[in-house]
C-alpha cells in the first residue's frame, strides 16, 4: 500500500508497547506509550517519554492497530489504552487508532493530564470510552511548580468530559512533601465530587522505580531523596475521597 500518491500519512510517535497492561484501565490492555510530553512533573517516572524526538516506533494508526489485533482475544474484559508521554499531543493519530479499535469492538481509554482541548482533541474524545485523568494538584501555584504547566486547562478539560458524560477515572499521585497536604487533597476531592462522570479515584503512591531511567538519561532525579508515602498516609488520602461518596482504589 506504500503508494507515493497517498496523502501524507499519519504517523504516531511511540515510545513503547505493552501488550499486557494491567494498571491502566480495567482488565488486560494493550497500552501504547506515546513519545513526548510538555509537562515536566518532578516525580515523572517515565522521563524517557518526555522528549518528542527519539520514538522507538513510528507507526501509522493501521500498523498500530494490526499489532493490537493479533492479541485481541487476550483483551476480552480489557481493551486498549493510549498513555505516554502525553497522548493528546498526537490527536490525529490517536483519533484514527482509537476509531479502528472501537470499530473492532474494543474498549478504548486514554491516560492524560488533560491540558489540551482543541477541536482535534475533542474528536479524539468522541472515540474514547474512558479517560484516565491525572489532576496533579488542585492548587494553581503548586501545579505550576510541580509540572511546569498551569492547572486551569486541566480543569476545563475535566468539565468538558463531565458535560459530555465521558466516564473518567481520576488518578492522583501522592508525593510526600508535594501533593500530600490534606487541605489540598480535600479541595481536590471536592472538585472531583462535583463531576458526575467520575467512576473511580486511583491513589498512586509515589515510587522511585524511575530513578534508573534518569541515570540513563544523564539527568538528576529531583525527588531522589523523597520518601514513599506510608500505608497510613495513603489510607487517609483514600478516606478523603471515600467520605465524598467516591469509589476509590
Amino acid at each position: 500500500m506504500k503508494n507515493s500518491e497517498t496523502p501524507k500519512k499519519v504517523i504516531g510517535k511511540i515510545h513503547s508497547i505493552e501488550s499486557f497492561g494491567t494498571v491502566d484501565g480495567p482488565g488486560i490492555r494493550f497500552v501504547l506509550f506515546m513519545q513526548g510530553c510538555e509537562f515536566r512533573c518532578l516525580y515523572c517516572h517515565n522521563p524517557d517519554t518526555q522528549n518528542l524526538d527519539g520514538a522507538a516506533y513510528e507507526l501509522t494508526p493501521e500498523e498500530a492497530f494490526s499489532r493490537m489485533k493479533k492479541y485481541k482475544n487476550f483483551y476480552k474484559d480489557g481493551g486498549v489504552t493510549v498513555s505516554g508521554g502525553e497522548p493528546l499531543l498526537q490527536p490525529t493519530f490517536l483519533r484514527e487508532f482509537l476509531k479502528l479499535c472501537r470499530k473492532a469492538g474494543m474498549h478504548t481509554a486514554i491516560d492524560t493530564a488533560g491540558a489540551y482541548l482543541s477541536e482535534g482533541v475533542k474528536a479524539v474524545l468522541e472515540e474514547t470510552d474512558l479517560v484516565l485523568l491525572d489532576i496533579k494538584c488542585i492548587d494553581s501555584d503548586i501545579h505550576q511548580s510541580l509540572t511546569g504547566k498551569p492547572l486551569e486547562p486541566t480543569l476545563v478539560f475535566a468539565e468538558y468530559l463531565a458535560q459530555k458524560g465521558i466516564p473518567v477515572w481520576i488518578r492522583y499521585v501522592l508525593v510526600p512533601g508535594l501533593t500530600d497536604r490534606e487541605d489540598l487533597i480535600e479541595k481536590h476531592a471536592d472538585f472531583i465530587a462535583g463531576l458526575q462522570n467520575v467512576e473511580l479515584v486511583e491513589i498512586l503512591p509515589f515510587h522511585k522505580l524511575g530513578t534508573a531511567k534518569y541515570e540513563k538519561l544523564g539527568r538528576k532525579y529531583p525527588l531522589k531523596d523523597t520518601p514513599t508515602p506510608s500505608p497510613e498516609q495513603v489510607q487517609r488520602a483514600k478516606e478523603i475521597y471515600l467520605s465524598r461518596g467516591l469509589k476509590v482504589k
Partner: protein, 743 residues
C-alpha cells in the same frame, strides 16, 4: 456386587474401561472453594514430622539415608510408616520415610557415582550380580552404540538420553486395581497371555508373551506388597479410603520397581471423587475426612525419592520426581470434568504447605467455570506451584482420559506410552554448520567433515543450507540412539508393573526434543536482517560474532521472526519423521529443557544472536532472557504460533510476572491471570504454561537466606521445584530470566 453399589453404567463392568466408569458416574462441580476443609490434627502432626525429616535430609546434603543392602523390587522392603496410627493412607518406598532404595538394573556405574556422592558404597554382592551375571540397561546400550552416537553425546550436541537411568514416562492406569480389584486385572492379563498361545512364535509374539509373564508376576508381587501393609486388594475398593489407598499402592509399587525419571500419577482426582461423593452421600465420611484422605495421599507422594547421580542432577535439578497429576478439563461430550476433588487436590498446597510435588497440572479451557478459573489463578498467584495445559488443544487428539506424562506431553492413560528421548542442542547444531562440523569448544571433528564457512560475514542462504545438512546427520544419529535405548530398556529394565496396568496393545510414541530454539531463531534472524561478522580463532573456528544493525528477536510477536520459529520446528520434526522407530512408534517432539538449559549453555560457544559463550539458554520454548520487550501477551503470541502438530510432546513456556504487573488488587490479579490463560489457550493456541508470580527481590532474598524460605516453590521448564534446592548457578539463571514488570 457391594463394592459397586450405586455406580451406574454397564460397559465398564464387562471390560477394563475406567473412562467409561468415570463418564457414567462423576459429578461436575461448578461451585467455589468455600466447602473445603482445613487440615486435621493428624494431618498437621504428620506434616510436621515430614517437615522435620525433610529438613534433616537437606542438612545431610540432600539424601537422608540409602538402603544399599538390596536392589529395590515391588516386595523388597518391609512396610514403613511415618506415624502408623495417624496415617489414613499407608505405604513407603522402603521401610523408613525418605530412605532411598537402589535400582541397579538401570546401570551400575551411575549407581556407584550416586552412592559415592553421598558417602555410601555399593554392596559387593549386588555389584557382582549386575556386573558378572546380569546385564544392565546401560551396559546393553553401550554395547551397541555407534562411534557417531558416542561422539555426539560426548560433544553435548545430544544430551540427557536415558541410557544410564530409568526412562520413566509410562503412566500405569493406577485406577484399575481400585475399580476392579487385583483378581480381575490378573485374570485379564492371564487371558491375554493365553490369547498368544496358538500360531507362529515370532519374535514379536515371544516378546509379548515374555512381557505378559513379567506383568503377571508383578501383579502377584503387588498382592504381597499390599498384604504386608494389611490390605487384601483382591476385590474392588469399597469406599473412598480403599480407592485412594489402592491407587496409591499402585503408583508406589511402580516406584519400587524402577527409578524412571518421571512417575506421573495420571488423572485421578475426578475418578476418586466418585468414591468420595458416594461416601459423603451415605454419610460414611465428612468433608474433613475426605480432605484428610487426599492430604495423606499427597503427603506420601511428596516424599517419593530416588537416588540420582551428580550429572543427572545437573539436568534434572532439585530432586524432582514428576508425579504429574492432570486436573479438570472437559469430556468429549462437553461436560465439565472438574469435581470437588479437583479443588481438594489444589487445597493440599494450603493444608500441607506449598511444595513442588505432585506436579499439579490444570487442563485449561476458556469454557471452564469462573469459580474454578478464579481458584486456580489464586493458587498460582499465591504459590507459583502449578502448571497449565490447553485441554481444548489436546482433547481432540487424545480424548478425555489423557494425562500429562512427566513434564508437558499428553498420553491416553493405559492405552499408550512414550519412549522418552531427551533432546538435542540446536544452537550447537548451527555452530557446527558454520564450523564444518567441528566442535567450537574442543575443535574436534564431530560430524563427517565438510567445508566450513569462511566468509567474514555470514550469508543466510549458505548458513541455512549447511544447517539443514548437519541437522539431517544429527537426526539420523539421534533416532538411532533412541531406538537402541528403548530396545535395551525393554530388555533389561522392563517396567512390568506399570505395563500390567496398560492394555495389551498400546500405542507408542517416541519423543524427541530440541533445546535452544529461540537462540537459533534469533541467530538466523540476525544473519538475515542484520550483519553478523565472524570472529575466528587460529584454527579457523568461529568463536564469537559481531552484530551490526538490528533484528527483531523471538518473543515480540514479529511475523517474520515467528515464522522462523515455526519453520525450524517443522523442519526438525519432518527430519525425524523420515526415520524408522523402535516398535513402530509414532515420532513426536517436545520443545522443553528441564534445567538442562544451563548445562547446554555451558557446553555451547557464542552464538550469532549475540549470546555469549557458556551462558544459559532460555528454558523450553521461551524467548531468550530479556529479549522479549513488548510485554507478556506479545511473548505468548509468538510462542502460540509454534505448531502443536509438530510438537505434540509439548511446547513448554515458563512465564514469570511480578504481583504488581499482574494487577493492583488480589481480585484483579486473579481475573487478569485467568484472562491471560483464556487468551493463550484458544483451541489452536498455546499448549503449556508455567506460571510464576514473584518479585525478583524475593528470589534474591531467598538466595541469601534460604532458611527463611523452606517452601518457596517456583516453576521451571516442565516441573516445579523448591527454589532453595537449586544450585546457586541455577538460582542465578532463574533470576536473570524475563520477569514481566509493571511499566
Amino acid at each position: 456386587m457391594k463394592c459397586w453399589d450405586g455406580f451406574k453404567g454397564s460397559l465398564w463392568k464387562t471390560e477394563v474401561n475406567v473412562r467409561d466408569f468415570i463418564q457414567e458416574n462423576y459429578t461436575p462441580y461448578y461451585g467455589d472453594e468455600s466447602f473445603l476443609a482445613d487440615a486435621t490434627e493428624a494431618t498437621k502432626t504428620l506434616s510436621d514430622k515430614v517437615g522435620e525429616l525433610i529438613k534433616e535430609e537437606a542438612d545431610k546434603g540432600g539424601v537422608l539415608d540409602v538402603d544399599t543392602s538390596m536392589a529395590s523390587t515391588i516386595k523388597s522392603h518391609l512396610p514403613g510408616y511415618i506415624d502408623k496410627p495417624l496415617e489414613k493412607i499407608v505405604g513407603l518406598q522402603t521401610d523408613k520415610p525418605l530412605k532411598r532404595a537402589i535400582f541397579p538394573r538401570s546401570g551400575i556405574s551411575q549407581l556407584e557415582k550416586a552412592l559415592e556422592k553421598y558417602g555410601y558404597h555399593l554392596d559387593e554382592g549386588i555389584k557382582n550380580t549386575y556386573t558378572n551375571h546380569r546385564k544392565t540397561h546401560n551396559e546393553g546400550v553401550l554395547s551397541v552404540y555407534t562411534p557417531d552416537i558416542r561422539n555426539a553425546c560426548d560433544a553435548g550436541i545430544i544430551t540427557g538420553l536415558p541410557d544410564n537411568y530409568g526412562r520413566g514416562r509410562h503412566i500405569g492406569d493406577y485406577r484399575r486395581i481400585a475399580l476392579y480389584g487385583l483378581d480381575y486385572i490378573l485374570s485379564e492379563k492371564e487371558g491375554e497371555f493365553k490369547l498368544l498361545e496358538p500360531g507362529e512364535m515370532t519374535d514379536e509374539t515371544i516378546r509379548m508373551r515374555e512381557e505378559l509373564s513379567e506383568q503377571i508376576q508383578a501383579l502377584h508381587d503387588f498382592r504381597e506388597m499390599c498384604l504386608s501393609y494389611g490390605y487384601d486388594v483382591s476385590k474392588p475398593a469399597c469406599n473412598a479410603q480403599e480407592a485412594i489407598q489402592y491407587v496409591y499402592f499402585s503408583i508406589l509399587a511402580a516406584a519400587k520397581q524402577h527409578d524412571g525419571v518421571t512417575i506421573s500419577l495420571g488423572r485421578t482426582s475426578t475418578f476418586l471423587d466418585i468414591y468420595i461423593e458416594r461416601d459423603l452421600k451415605m454419610n460414611r465420611i465428612t468433608e474433613e475426612e475426605a480432605q484428610e484422605l487426599i492430604d495423606h495421599f499427597v503427603m506420601k507422594l511428596r516424599i517419593f525419592r530416588f537416588l540420582r547421580s551428580p550429572d543427572y542432577n545437573e539436568l534434572f535439578s532439585g530432586d524432582p520426581t514428576w508425579i504429574t497429576e492432570s486436573i479438570g478439563g472437559f469430556g468429549v461430550d462437553g461436560r465439565l470434568m472438574v469435581t470437588k476433588n479437583s479443588y481438594r487436590y489444589l487445597h493440599t498446597l494450603y493444608n500441607l504447605g506449598v511444595g513442588p510435588e505432585p506436579n499439579l497440572t490444570i487442563l485449561w479451557s476458556e469454557r471452564l467455570p469462573e469459580n474454578w478459573k478464579k481458584y486456580c489463578s489464586r493458587v498460582s498467584v499465591e504459590t507459583s506451584a502449578i502448571q497449565y495445559e490447553n485441554d481444548d488443544l489436546m482433547r481432540p487428539e487424545f480424548g478425555d482420559d489423557y494425562a500429562i506424562s512427566g513434564c508437558v506431553g499428553a498420553l491416553e492413560i493405559g492405552k499408550s506410552t512414550q519412549h522418552f528421548g531427551a533432546r538435542v542442542n540446536l544452537p550447537k547444531t548451527l555452530l557446527y554448520a558454520i564450523n564444518g562440523g567441528r566442535d567450537e569448544i574442543t575443535g574436534k571433528q564431530v560430524t563427517p567433515p565438510f567445508a566450513p564457512i569462511t566468509s567474514e560475514y555470514l550469508d543466510y542462504d549458505e548458513v541455512m543450507e549447511r544447517f539443514g545438512a548437519v541437522q539431517k546427520w544429527l537426526v539420523g544419529i539421534y533416532v538411532q540412539a533412541v531406538n537402541i535405548i528403548h530396545y535395551m530398556h525393554d530388555k533389561y529394565a522392563y517396567e512390568s508393573l506399570q505395563m500390567a496396568l496398560h492394555d495389551l496393545n498400546i500405542k507408542r510414541y517416541q519423543t524427541f526434543g530440541i533445546a535452544g530454539l529461540s537462540i537459533v531463531v534469533d541467530s538466523l534472524m540476525a544473519i538475515k536482517n542484520a550483519k553478523v561478522r565472524v570472529i575466528r580463532n587460529l584454527e579457523g573456528i568461529a568463536t564469537d560474532f559481531e552484530i551490526t544493525g538490528t533484528y527483531v528477536p523471538f518473543g515480540n510477536s514479529n511475523d517474520e521472526t515467528d515464522q522462523m520459529a515455526v519453520k525450524l520446528t517443522r523442519d526438525f520434526y519432518r527430519e525425524i519423521s523420515t526415520h524408522k522407530m523402535y516398535r513402530n512408534s509414532k515420532p513426536t517432539m517436545s520443545i522443553l529443557t528441564i534445567t538442562s538449559n544451563i548445562v547446554y549453555g555451558k557446553m555451547t560457544g557464542a552464538t550469532p544472536c549475540g549470546r555469549q559463550a557458556f551462558t544459559p539458554f532460555s528454558p523450553g520454548v521461551n524467548p531468550m532472557n530479556g529479549r522479549d520487550c513488548n510485554g507478556a501477551v506479545a511473548s505468548l503470541a509468538s510462542v502460540r504460533d509454534i505448531p502443536y502438530t509438530c510438537a505434540r510432546d509439548g511446547i513448554s513456556y515458563t512465564f514469570a510476572i511480578t504481583p504488581a504487573a499482574l494487577g493492583k488488587l488480589q481480585e484483579e490479579r486473579q481475573s487478569n491471570l485467568a484472562q491471560l490463560l483464556d487468551g493463550y489457550f484458544t483451541p489452536n493456541g498455546g499448549q503449556h504454561l508455567n506460571v510464576n508470580v514473584f518479585d525478583r527481590s524475593l528470589l534474591e532474598d531467598a538466595m541469601e537466606h534460604p532458611e527463611k524460605y523452606p517452601q518457596l516453590t517456583i516453576r521451571v521448564s516442565g516441573y516445579a521445584v523448591n527454589f532453595t534446592k537449586l544450585t546457586r548457578e541455577q538460582q542465578l539463571d532463574v533470576i536473570s530470566r524475563t520477569i514481566n514488570e509493571a511499566k
